[in-house]
C-alpha cells in the first residue's frame, strides 16, 4: 500500500512541496539565483513601504471583484435562461462559451486593437456617434484600469456552463411539485433554482477569484502595468522584481498572493457553505 503511494508522493513532493518550500524560504532571503542570504522580514518590510505594491494589490482586488460582480450574475442569468432551452439555445451556448476558450494573450491582442486610440473600433464608433473619439483608453490614468477590466469581465461562458450543468442535475420532480402548487416560472427560478445553485455559485466565485488574483497575461500585453502602475497586478509586480534579479523579493510577493488566495478561499467557502449539502 505504502509503496503504491510512492510515485504519487514523489510527484507531489517534486511539483508542489519543493517549489512551495523554495517560495517560502527565499521569500525571507535576498536571492538572485545563486547567492542566498537570509534577510528575515526585510522583503515584507520593503513591500509595505512601496506604494506600487499597494497599487498592484488594489488593482488585483479590483479586477477580481469586477470579474465576480459582472461575470457571476451575467453567467448565472445566462445559464438559467439557456437551461430553459429556448429556441436556438445550443447556438447561444456556443457563442457565449467560445470567448472563454480563447487564450488570454490572444484576447488581449484583440482588445489592444479595439482600444487603439487612432484606429481602434471603440474610438471610431464614438466618433461616428459624434462623441469625442481620440481617447487613449489603455494609457490614460483615468480610464486604464476600467479598460483592462472591460476585456475580461464579460467573458461569462465558464459560469454559464457550470450553472447549466448544475440545473440539469436538479430533479424534475421539484419543479413538477412547484407547478402543481401554481408557482410561476419566475417564482420557480427565484425560489427553487437559485437557492439550489448556491454551491455552484460559491464554486465559480472561488475559481474566478483564484484565477484573477494571479492575473498577468492580459495586463502584461495590454499595458505592461502602466500608466504609472495604474493597471499593475501583484503577479506583474512580482515579475518585474524577477526581471530585476530580485528573486527573493519576487517570491515574497508570490507568497503574499498565496496568502490573499487562502483568505479569499476561506471567506467564500464560509459565505456560500461550499461543499455542504443542499
Amino acid at each position: 500500500m505504502a509503496v503504491s503511494l510512492l510515485p504519487g508522493a514523489a510527484l507531489f513532493a517534486t511539483f508542489f512541496l519543493v517549489p512551495l518550500g523554495v517560495l517560502v524560504v527565499t521569500a525571507f532571503s535576498r536571492w538572485g539565483g545563486l547567492d542566498l542570504a537570509w534577510t528575515g522580514l526585510e522583503n515584507y518590510r520593503r513591500m509595505l513601504d512601496d506604494p506600487v505594491f499597494f497599487s498592484a494589490l488594489g488593482n488585483t482586488l479590483f479586477y477580481a471583484a469586477a470579474a465576480v460582480a459582472v461575470q457571476v450574475p451575467l453567467g448565472v442569468a445566462a445559464g438559467m435562461v439557456l437551461a430553459l432551452r429556448p429556441r436556438g439555445w445550443k447556438a447561444f451556448r456556443a457563442i457565449i462559451f467560445v470567448p472563454f476558450v480563447i487564450s488570454g494573450a490572444a484576447y488581449a491582442l484583440v482588445f489592444s486593437m479595439f482600444y487603439n486610440a487612432r484606429a481602434g473600433l471603440l474610438n471610431n464608433a464614438l466618433a461616428a456617434l459624434g462623441l469625442p473619439g481620440d481617447r487613449d483608453w489603455l494609457f490614460d490614468t483615468a480610464t486604464a484600469r476600467w479598460a483592462v477590466a472591460g476585456t475580461f469581465v464579460f467573458v461569462v461562458g465558464f459560469v454559464m456552463i457550470l450553472v447549466m450543468a448544475e440545473i440539469a442535475a436538479i430533479p424534475d420532480e421539484v419543479y413538477e411539485a412547484a407547478q402543481i402548487d401554481g408557482a410561476s416560472a419566475w417564482r420557480q427560478a427565484v425560489h427553487i433554482t437559485l437557492p439550489l445553485l448556491r454551491n455552484v455559485i460559491g464554486t465559480v466565485i472561488l475559481i474566478r477569484l483564484l484565477v484573477d488574483i494571479g492575473m498577468f497575461d492580459v495586463v502584461f500585453i495590454l499595458t505592461a502595468g502602466g500608466p504609472d502602475d495604474a493597471t499593475a497586478t501583484l503577479a506583474l509586480y512580482a515579475y518585474r522584481a524577477y526581471l530585476n534579479g530580485e528573486w527573493g523579493y519576487a517570491n515574497a510577493v508570490g507568497s503574499t498572493i498565496l496568502v490573499v488566495g487562502v483568505v479569499l478561499i476561506v471567506a467564500v467557502r464560509r459565505l456560500f457553505r461550499v461543499g455542504e449539502g443542499r
Binding site: V18, G21, V22, V25, T26, S29, W31, G33, L34, D35, L36, A37, W38, S112, N116, A117, R118, A119, G120, N123, D134, R135, D136, L138, F139, D140, T141, A142, A224, G225, G226, P227, D228, D229, A230, R240, Y242, L243, N244, G245, E246
Partner: protein
C-alpha cells in the same frame, strides 16, 4: 549572512534554473577533424530582422572561409532580437555558465551582464592588434567599456540617427525643407494639424525617447546624456532636461502627435508615418530597410521621404544621435574557442563585411571605410546623406540607452503617459523616472 541550511535549497533551485537555461548555450567543441566549433546565439535566419539575417549570412561566409579550422554553430534563440526579456535570459545562462561563445547585446545589457563576470574582455585583443583597433571610428567603444577600461563588445555599427520626414506633406504645408529649429518645427506642426495631418509619429518608447534625446542634446544637454543620466537623481535640476521634457509633452497636448502614442509599440508610430497620416518620425537608418521599403508603406512613400538631422533650439544648432547599437560579445573562457571568436569579430569588422552589412541592414560601419569602396557599394542614399550631414552638425550625442540605467525604457513606458495626461508635474516625473529606472535595473 549566509546560512548553510538554506544553501541546499538554493542549490536545488539553482539546479532548476540551470536546467531551465540549458539549451540556450552549448559547449564549444572540436570536431573529429580538429575544427574548432563555437556557438552563436544571434546568428539564426530571420525573415523579419535584417540584422539577424545578416548575422546568419556572415556566419555562413565565415564558415566557408575557415572551413576545417573554425565553424560557427547557430543556436535557435527566441531572445536573439531586442526585447525586455533578453537581458534576463542571458543572466540565467551566465549563472549556469552556459553563455553562447558569440552573441550580441546592447550597451545597457552589457553593463548589467558584465557584473556576472562571464563576459570576455576584448581590450587585450585590441591592444595586441593595433592595426585592427585603429580601423574603428573614435568613440565607438565608449558605451561598451567596463569600469576598468575593459572592452566587453566589438561594435557592430556606428549610426547617426535623425528624423525621417514626408517631403510631399511638408510641401503641401508650404515647406520645401525640413525645419532647422524647434520653433520652426512647431510652426510646421500647426500647419499640418490644420490640414488634418499628424506632425510627429511617436510610440511612447523608442521613437518618443529619440525625440526627447534630440531635444536635450540640441539644448545643451550633451553632458547629461553622457554623464548626468548615470546618476540616480538630479535630473530635474538640469534646465536642458526640464525644457526638453516639457516641450515634448506640449506636443502631445497641442495635438501634434498621433493619438496612439503611448503603447510602447513602435509599429503604432510606424503605421502612422507609413500610411502618411503622420509627416515625421525619428528613427535610425535601418528604418529604410525594416519599414520604409516594406509592404506596409504607402506606394511611393520612399521617394517622398527625406532624412534630416534634428532641428536646434537656435538657428545653426542642429544635432544627431550617434549610437554603436549592438555589439558582439563572448561568453566563453575556452582559449581555442576564443581564437575562433577573435577571428570572427575581425572578420565581421573587415571592410567587405561592414559594407555587406550596410547594404543588408542600412546600418553604418563602425570602422573607417575607403570612400571609393563606400561609393561602389551602392549604399542607401538617405542613410549616406544623413551620415554626411551628421559630420557637419553642431551637436552629436548618445542615445539615452547608452549611458542611462538599464531599466530606463521600462520606467519611461510606465511614467510617460501619466506625465502627459497631467497626473504629475515635471519635477516629480523626472525624479521618479530616475529612481524607477535605477530600481528596474536592479540598482
Amino acid at each position: 549572512m549566509h546560512h548553510r541550511g538554506t544553501s541546499l535549497l538554493a542549490g536545488t533551485a539553482a539546479a532548476l534554473v540551470i536546467l531551465a537555461g540549458c539549451g540556450g548555450g552549448a559547449e564549444s567543441s572540436d570536431s573529429a577533424s580538429g575544427e574548432v566549433v563555437i556557438t552563436c546565439g544571434t546568428c539564426q535566419q530571420s525573415p523579419t530582422d535584417p540584422f539577424l539575417q545578416y548575422n546568419y549570412e556572415a556566419a555562413q561566409r565565415f564558415n566557408e572561409r575557415y572551413a576545417g579550422t573554425y565553424r560557427i554553430e547557430t543556436l535557435e534563440n527566441p531572445n536573439a532580437g531586442s526585447s525586455d526579456d533578453r537581458l534576463q535570459y542571458y543572466q540565467r545562462l551566465a549563472m549556469a555558465e552556459d553563455l553562447p561563445d558569440l552573441f550580441q547585446l546592447n550597451s545597457g545589457e552589457i553593463r548589467a551582464l558584465q557584473e556576472t563576470g562571464r563576459l570576455h574582455d576584448f581590450a587585450p585583443d585590441l591592444a595586441a592588434d593595433e592595426e585592427w583597433a585603429g580601423t574603428f571610428h573614435d568613440q565607438v567603444f565608449d558605451a561598451l567599456r567596463g569600469p576598468d577600461d575593459q572592452v566587453w563588445a566589438i561594435p557592430q555599427q556606428r549610426d547617426a540617427i535623425g528624423v525621417f520626414y514626408n517631403a510631399e506633406l511638408l510641401e503641401r504645408a508650404g515647406y520645401d525643407a525640413f525645419p532647422s529649429t524647434w520653433d520652426g518645427f512647431e510652426q510646421l506642426a500647426q500647419r499640418l494639424r490644420a490640414d488634418g495631418v499628424t506632425a510627429l509619429a511617436l510610440d511612447g518608447d523608442w521613437a518618443t525617447m529619440l525625440m526627447w534625446v534630440h531635444l536635450i542634446g540640441t539644448g545643451g544637454g550633451e553632458d547629461f546624456l553622457t554623464d548626468g543620466i548615470a546618476a540616480a537623481d538630479g535630473w530635474a535640476d538640469d534646465p536642458a532636461v526640464v525644457a526638453a521634457t516639457e516641450r515634448l509633452r506640449s506636443w502631445h497636448v497641442d495635438g501634434y502627435v498621433n493619438a496612439d502614442a503611448f503603447s510602447g509599440e513602435f509599429q503604432n508610430a510606424a503605421a502612422a508615418f507609413l500610411s502618411e497620416q503622420a509627416a515625421t518620425i525619428a528613427n535610425g537608418p535601418w528604418f529604410v530597410k525594416t519599414n520604409l521599403t516594406g509592404d506596409a508603406a504607402s506606394p511611393g512613400l520612399y521617394e517622398k521621404t527625406g532624412y534630416a538631422p534634428a532641428p536646434g533650439w537656435t538657428e545653426g544648432e542642429r544635432g544627431v544621435i550617434v549610437v554603436s547599437g549592438a555589439g558582439w560579445v563572448s561568453g566563453t573562457t575556452d582559449e581555442r574557442a576564443l581564437e575562433a571568436v577573435r577571428e570572427f569579430v575581425r572578420f565581421v569588422s573587415s571592410q567587405d563585411e561592414v559594407l555587406a552589412q550596410a547594404v543588408a541592414t542600412g546600418a553604418s560601419p563602425p570602422v573607417a571605410v575607403d570612400p571609393a569602396a563606400m561609393a561602389a557599394a551602392g549604399l542607401e542614399p538617405l542613410v549616406t546623406g544623413l551620415a554626411e550631414e551628421a559630420a557637419e552638425v553642431t551637436h552629436q550625442y548618445p542615445h539615452v540607452r547608452v549611458h542611462g540605467p538599464a531599466g530606463f525604457g521600462v520606467a519611461w513606458r510606465n511614467l510617460w503617459p501619466a506625465y502627459v495626461d497631467g497626473s504629475m508635474p515635471t519635477e516629480q516625473f523626472l525624479d521618479r523616472l530616475a529612481a524607477d529606472a535605477r530600481a528596474q535595473a536592479g540598482g
